[in-house]
């Protein structure tokens, strides 16, 4: 019989191979669980219905940002963030992670492989948004590359949130409560109009608001004031929300690294 890789294979390739095959197993498990799959897609896609309500249809940018933004943040929060959190915590409890860590897999490969199924669903939801938005009378994304990079960055941010939450979550049941702060952080950004004017610049620093802002800039080429941007200007306008997401990611990774456990508490 042959082995899949020669022992001399370069470590980097071996790492990628391990990550992808573990990720594939995690995907198999996700697909096998129909309820998870249904929720993973149905929940985030539901807000897109807003695009077809009579009053708001007809390509209104604010309505578009609201509907698609909610969809993206829902996808990042549930199939992305919450799914990784609960997978990590459950497998830690069941000693699956401890077992895998006795083998050749590196910790970061293990983490990435667990984030992959959620990441795939967020990307799929983002892609589905495009034809639905078109049908709802909106235009195609004006800077699709920036949009894609923004979605990828947000996936990383929310995955980092999941690890940070896992660091202080005792077990799978506790995750229902410990996920609260992040869900709040994700959705507070939408309630901008509900806050007094002088709080706005602080709300804009929340991850959910940054995702919304990136969406507005990359898809509709509009800044937060509603002014139109050229293709080149969209890159500049994306700087602040990108920095906000990078900062949140760095903070979450830093905190997670300090206290993430791989075994259940004794």
């Amino acid at each position: 019989m042959t082995t899949t890789t020669a022992p001399a294979a370069r470590p980097r390739h071996a790492g990628l191979r391990r990550t992808l095959s573990l990720g594939r197993s995690n995907w198999t498990l996700m697909v096998r669980n129909r309820t998870t799959m249904l929720y993973a897609f149905a929940l985030p896609l539901f807000p897109l219905v807003l695009l077809f309500t009579a009053e708001r249809s007809g390509g209104d940018v604010n309505a578009g940002v609201a509907a698609i933004g909610t969809t993206l943040v829902m996808a990042l929060t549930f199939p992305g963030y919450y799914n990784l959190l609960s997978m990590f915590v459950t497998r830690r409890d069941e000693l699956v992670l401890k077992r895998l860590r006795t083998g050749e897999v590196r910790d970061r490969e293990l983490l990435v492989s667990m984030a992959l199924p959620g990441a795939a669903i967020v990307l799929a939801v983002a892609v589905i948004c495009v034809p639905v938005a078109l049908a709802g009378g909106l235009e195609l994304p004006l800077n699709p590359l920036l949009l894609l990079l923004g979605v990828l960055l947000s996936i990383v941010t929310f995955a980092a949130f999941a690890l940070w939450t896992a660091a202080w979550t005792r077990n799978a049941e506790a995750a229902q409560l410990t996920s609260g702060p992040i869900i709040l952080l994700a959705f507070l950004g939408f309630m901008l109009p509900a806050f007094p004017e002088d709080l706005h610049r602080w709300i804009e620093l929340l991850p959910g608001a940054a995702v919304n802002e990136l969406l507005r800039v990359a898809w509709f080429a509009q800044d937060s004031g509603g002014a139109s941007l050229s293709f080149l200007q969209t890159w500049g306008a994306a700087t602040q929300p990108v920095l906000v997401l990078v900062a949140w990611t760095a903070l979450a990774v830093l905190l997670a690294r300090r206290s993430l456990r791989w075994e259940p508490r004794a």
């Binding site: 022992p7 470590p11 071996a14 197993s25 069941e94 000693l95 006795t102 083998g103 004794a266």
Partner: protein, 327 residues
């Protein structure tokens, strides 16, 4: 290969492992030295909480040592992790698998993480799991689950295998099968370091054994050596009239008088002759040469004595209870 024939496959020097800090701190491993020769089976024997798993976790590279040094195949299990992991196989005392994957899917997933894995079908056959290949993990019995676990440990044809209580929870037939497998590993040149609290397992498998108690190795050698150093034991119901006894350690265990003697036959002859001469009947008389079991029980009894009467060498008489918690 970095292994030389004269180099131990596993080498431990002055290993200490502390849990917690300040007043809650306690030491689960208290400075042990150990060498495991290549191609041998070495058993760490001890009651629960003796420090076997705490020791093994450092050798496996899962936990850092508080002090001391560990080398596996001449390498540091933490800093040389990738190189060590490619050549070692680990079986944890307790471990989990994802319940919704089948046995074959589980082994396939594990194989994908191993540099040069055995074919999955070979692994299935090796652990007699071929018939169960398409059953989901959550549907397996405890023994079958353990066999999948062992199949993963052996997936990369490891040079050093670390098995933490490999047969705990297995039925007698599966235990024998695992023993045969472990002997095969040695036959093929692998080194095996295992922990157990089963005496028959040590007698059946181990080339050398280290008996651990309260974080220290208190006896070490081949089973024959350990037993040879240990006194034989004569016991009988303490007679109403005092009887002169042969030389040896004398102890009272309830209504029994217990004698420990280096050489059983002359001591027993002397005792029986004296008893006959004085017309004393020795009720419940029993005499036995040392066995691994008697050594082990004596070691455990020493522990109890330590726990009952704090000794300067053991400043924490409560550590036994704490050790149980730590596992």
């Amino acid at each position: 290969m970095t292994t030389r024939a004269d180099q131990p496959a596993v080498s431990i020097r002055g290993l200490r492992r502390r849990y917690g800090t300040g007043a809650d701190a306690f030491e689960a491993v208290r400075g042990i030295d150990l060498d495991v020769a290549p191609g041998t089976i070495h058993a760490l024997l001890g009651v629960n909480g003796a420090g076997k798993t705490s020791t093994l976790e450092v050798v496996e590279g899962l936990a850092p040592a508080s002090a001391g040094e560990v080398r596996v195949l001449g390498l540091d299990p933490v800093t040389d992790r990738p190189a060590v992991r490619r050549r070692t196989g680990v079986l944890l005392q307790r471990s989990g698998f994802v319940g919704d994957l089948t046995v074959r899917e589980t082994l396939r997933m594990w194989a994908a993480t191993v540099t040069s894995p055995r074919p999955v079908e070979e692994s299935l056959a090796l652990l007699d799991l071929t018939d169960r290949a398409d059953v989901r993990m959550r549907g397996l019995s405890g023994g079958e689950h353990r066999r999948v676990d062992i199949a993963c440990a052996l997936m990369g044809r490891p040079e050093v295998v670390m098995l933490d209580e490999p047969t705990t929870g297995l039925d007698p037939e599966s235990r024998r099968a695992v023993w045969a497998l472990v002997r095969d590993l040695r036959q093929q040149g692998a080194t095996v370091l295992l922990t157990t609290h089963y005496l028959d397992e040590v007698e059946a498998l181990a080339d050398r054994v280290s008996i651990m108690r309260a974080g220290e190795i208190v006896r070490e050698g081949t089973v024959a050596q350990i037993v040879a150093d240990h006194p034989s034991q004569i016991s009988f119901r303490t007679p109403d009239h005092a009887l002169p006894l042969p030389d040896g350690d004398r102890d009272q265990d309830g209504e029994l008088t217990v004698l420990r003697v280096a050489d059983l036959q002359p001591a027993l002859t002397e005792l029986l002759v004296t008893a006959r001469d004085r017309g004393v009947v020795l009720e419940r008389l029993s005499a036995r040469t040392a066995s691994l079991e008697s050594v082990f029980l004596d070691v455990a009894a020493e522990r109890d004595r330590v726990a009952d009467h704090p000794h300067p060498a053991h400043p924490h008489p409560e550590h036994d209870a704490v050790l149980e918690d730590a596992r």
